[in-house]
């Protein structure tokens, strides 16, 4: 260690101690931390669009609109994270529950059904209906493992939009159910309207905050530990008293509930539901968001979903605008004729997902914002190396062990608790 490094050391230590103190504090008061964090994020989202460069990209109200739409995907990603990230069940048909929530709201609030039920109770009811379908799907099938479960959820995800498509008498088929009523005005946040998306945005911020508090509490509870245990080793989990079927069912139902909530919100915002909003691409998008964000880490997944959504809806359009500013000439190379001016970046969305996923798996498989646990799983080699460099424990030769392994009896004064970890000769990994 050089002299310079030695001098740097105390500062690093201080910074590290400060960070760990903050981490401890936030772990002890997790709900309060989430409230404060979400409050800061929401305030930033309210005020940033007023200032450059953001006000040059979109109008203020359009930003709120984009944020509210992003919130739908944030909710979906957090819900799928319970199923995939916490309980380790690969769900490829997650959009089905999103569809069920959305159609539930469409039935309760549209000229088509003639009903006009209040919005906030419908949020709960839509989520409950989705949960019921989650249980109905999960109860007979959650005995399956791994790939088989994934294929089954894939099938369910295909069935649901097709059922909505073909039950024309009840769902108006491809046209979908339109003219869905917007939520009634809530005190303090104003009217819900196409031109006034601020109310949607604030409501969504509230829903995401509450969902996040609940999910963190679940993750740190007995149930969360059980999910984790099942993800690690299902047989060992069962042999330790965990009812694996009901525990997995709970994860599935909670994931469906969150998707149902997102569905109700989305239907009330778009004012139309149609089967093509819920095809496999939605399930895939959400799964990609979960993986890119950092599977298993609740805030990481939420942030990942937000970033991905904003890139896909705002950044790609912005790229189009920038490109138009260049007034590119068509590229003519004999047989190859490439009109650069006609490239539409927004249609490259799924190509970008593909590239991002491949790059992510190669460079940072744990995601952008990984949970501690995932990082430890995937980077154990580096970490072990670091550990060895930090505490080079002195090698202690244990005479009693040597003696006993040579056939003599161990010392009579030796107690079980008398050994420390450092001097275990059998400590090979």
């Amino acid at each position: 260690m050089s002299a310079g490094q030695r001098a740097l050391r105390p500062r690093f230590e201080r910074v590290r101690a400060g960070r760990s103190r903050i981490r401890d504090l936030s772990e002890q008061h997790r709900s309060a931390t989430i409230f404060i964090g979400m409050l800061i994020v929401t305030l930033l989202m309210i005020y940033l669009p007023k200032y450059p460069p953001f006000n040059g990209i979109l109008r203020e109200q359009s930003w709120f609109d984009a944020f509210a739409n992003a919130g739908v995907y944030v909710l979906l990603a957090m819900g799928l994270n319970v199923v995939v990230g916490l309980a380790g069940l690969l769900d490829l048909g997650y959009a089905a529950f999103f569809a069920i929530g959305a159609y539930t709201y469409a039935y309760s609030n549209s000229p088509y059904s003639g009903l006009d039920l209040p919005f906030l109770p419908m949020l709960v009811i839509g989520a409950a209906v989705a949960a019921v379908f989650g249980i109905a799907l999960g109860a007979p099938t959650l005995r399956l493992r791994g790939d088989y479960l994934a294929i089954m959820t894939l099938g369910f995800g295909e069935i649901v939009p097709i059922v909505f498509l073909n039950l024309e008498n009840w769902t108006q088929g491809t046209n979908g159910i339109g003219g869905i009523f917007r939520p009634e005005e809530l005190p303090g946040i104003g009217r819900f309207g196409a031109l006034t998306p601020f109310a949607y945005f604030i409501l969504m911020a509230g829903i995401v905050t509450i969902a996040m508090v609940f999910l963190y509490r679940l993750q740190d509870s007995r149930v969360g530990r059980a999910w984790n245990a099942i993800r690690e080793d299902e047989l060992a989990a069962a042999a330790n008293g965990i009812n694996t079927v009901t525990t997995k069912l709970l994860a599935f139902a909670l994931g469906a509930t969150t998707a149902g909530l997102a569905g109700v919100f989305s239907a009330s915002k778009l004012t139309i539901v149609s089967p093509d909003q819920f095809y496999f691409t939605v399930s895939f998008t959400v799964l990609a968001m979960v993986i890119l964000g950092g599977m298993g880490n609740i805030w990481g997944v939420a942030a990942g979903a937000f970033v991905v959504f904003m890139i896909q809806t705002v950044a790609l359009k912005q790229l189009n605008t920038i490109k138009e500013g260049f007034h590119l000439q068509p590229l003519d190379l004999g047989p190859i004729h490439w009109d650069l001016a006609k490239i539409d970046f927004t249609s490259y969305q799924f190509l970008l997902y593909g590239v991002a996923l491949v790059a992510m798996m190669l460079l940072r498989p744990e995601g952008l914002f990984p949970s501690q646990r995932r990082r430890r799983e995937l980077h154990i080699a580096d970490e072990m190396l670091a550990d060895h460099l930090v505490d080079e424990a002195p090698v202690v030769i244990d005479e009693a062990a040597v003696a006993s392994s040579l056939g003599e009896t161990p010392g009579a004064d030796e107690t079980f608790d008398g050994t420390t970890r450092g001097d275990e000769p059998g400590g090979d990994r």
Binding site: S221, R222, N240, D417
Partner: protein, 334 residues
């Protein structure tokens, strides 16, 4: 052999397990006296671990039954086909009522409510059938339906186990591993966790205290936050025992607890096992290859070979049994 008496925690009656043409366990009668240490030995492939897994509820036996904690827990299922039919009875009645209402010209809302109630009932029954709470199992028994206990049911009934090839939750900390072991004895539901009720928080705190005690009991100090997979091999074995103890078992199954340990660690573990019996009043069933361990701490030894019980008795009796010597060393040695 009849009903279990006070002196025994577990009774196996003519337990048989067949895998295709292979008879892994053949008509084994077996009892474990309360607060004893019983060892199960035999050459490789003798069916020890299969028998173990039957007791733990992982395999269903082909024939025979196992009584644990005063009732038959494990046996071939009886009239299991009746169970799904039972599920359908109540929803079917509701459906019929709804249909009758529909044909007799009841208003649409009544029919809608009827349908709704039917579907919800069907779901509730389905979930109950999947979750199988204790009252539901008692109800089934009364209806003459028997289904073999699953591993988690056996844990609830008071059985703890370890695995031959350590199966810790590798990426969870030592503390979390033990807390998972307590799962069956904790009461907080997911709703308690959502609302973070005082009862839930109290339980969580006391569980952590108890987990720390258990870790110290098996000789693991200061490794609470260490990942299970980063622990040395011997410590992993001990952690697995701590995890099995976390469910407050009356019977502890240890599958080759000293496999891969050096003589000193073996000695320490042997001491721990006898201490567990003495201090916690546990009954212990042990599979072990190390004869020094087996002969040193067992009250009784049962020898399996080719799925059959060939000898049973005190360590000294078994040691002198010609059949045992033959099984281990081959016929010419006798």
């Amino acid at each position: 052999m009849n009903a279990i008496d006070e002196a025994h925690v577990l009774l196996a009656d003519q337990v048989t397990k067949r895998f295709g043409g292979l008879i892994a366990v053949n008509k084994i009668d077996f009892t474990i006296p309360t607060q004893s240490i019983v060892s199960l030995i035999g050459p490789n492939g003798a069916g020890k671990t299969t028998f173990f897994n039957i007791i733990a509820g992982i395999y269903d036996p082909t024939a025979g039954r196992i009584e644990f904690g005063g009732e038959t827990k494990i046996a071939r299922s009886k009239r299991a086909w009746l169970e799904p039919l039972l599920w359908l009875i109540v929803p079917a009645i509701l459906a019929v009522i709804t249909i009758v209402l529909g044909t007799s010209g009841a208003p649409e809302t009544v029919i809608a409510i009827g349908l709704f109630v039917t579907i919800i009932t069907l779901l509730a029954v389905l979930v109950t059938g999947v979750a199988r709470p204790p009252w539901y199992q008692r109800m089934l028994t009364r209806a003459g339906i028997f289904r073999s206990a699953r591993p988690n049911d056996m844990v609830v009934a008071g059985l703890g186990r370890t695995f031959q090839n350590i199966r810790l939750f590798a990426n969870m900390t030592a503390m979390e591993n033990v807390l998972v072991g307590m799962h069956a004895r904790m009461k907080a539901s997911w709703l308690d966790a959502l609302l973070s009720t005082p009862a839930d928080r109290r339980e969580e705190v006391s569980a952590r205290v108890r987990a720390r005690e258990l870790l110290e009991l098996v000789g693991l100090k200061g490794v609470d936050d260490e990942l299970a997979k980063n622990l040395p091999y011997g410590d992993q074995r001990r952690l697995e025992i701590a995890r099995a103890l976390a469910s407050n078992p009356t019977l502890l199954l240890l599958d080759e607890p000293t496999a891969g340990m050096n003589p000193r660690e073996t000695q320490q573990l042997t001491d721990l096992i006898s201490r567990l019996r003495r201090d916690l009043g546990l009954t212990i069933l042990l599979i072990e290859h190390d004869m020094r361990v087996v002969m040193g701490i067992s009250d009784r030894v049962t020898v399996l070979d080719h799925g059959e019980k060939i000898a049973e008795g005190t360590p000294d009796e078994v040691r002198r049994d010609p059949k045992v010597i033959e099984a281990y060393l081959g016929a010419p040695a006798v």
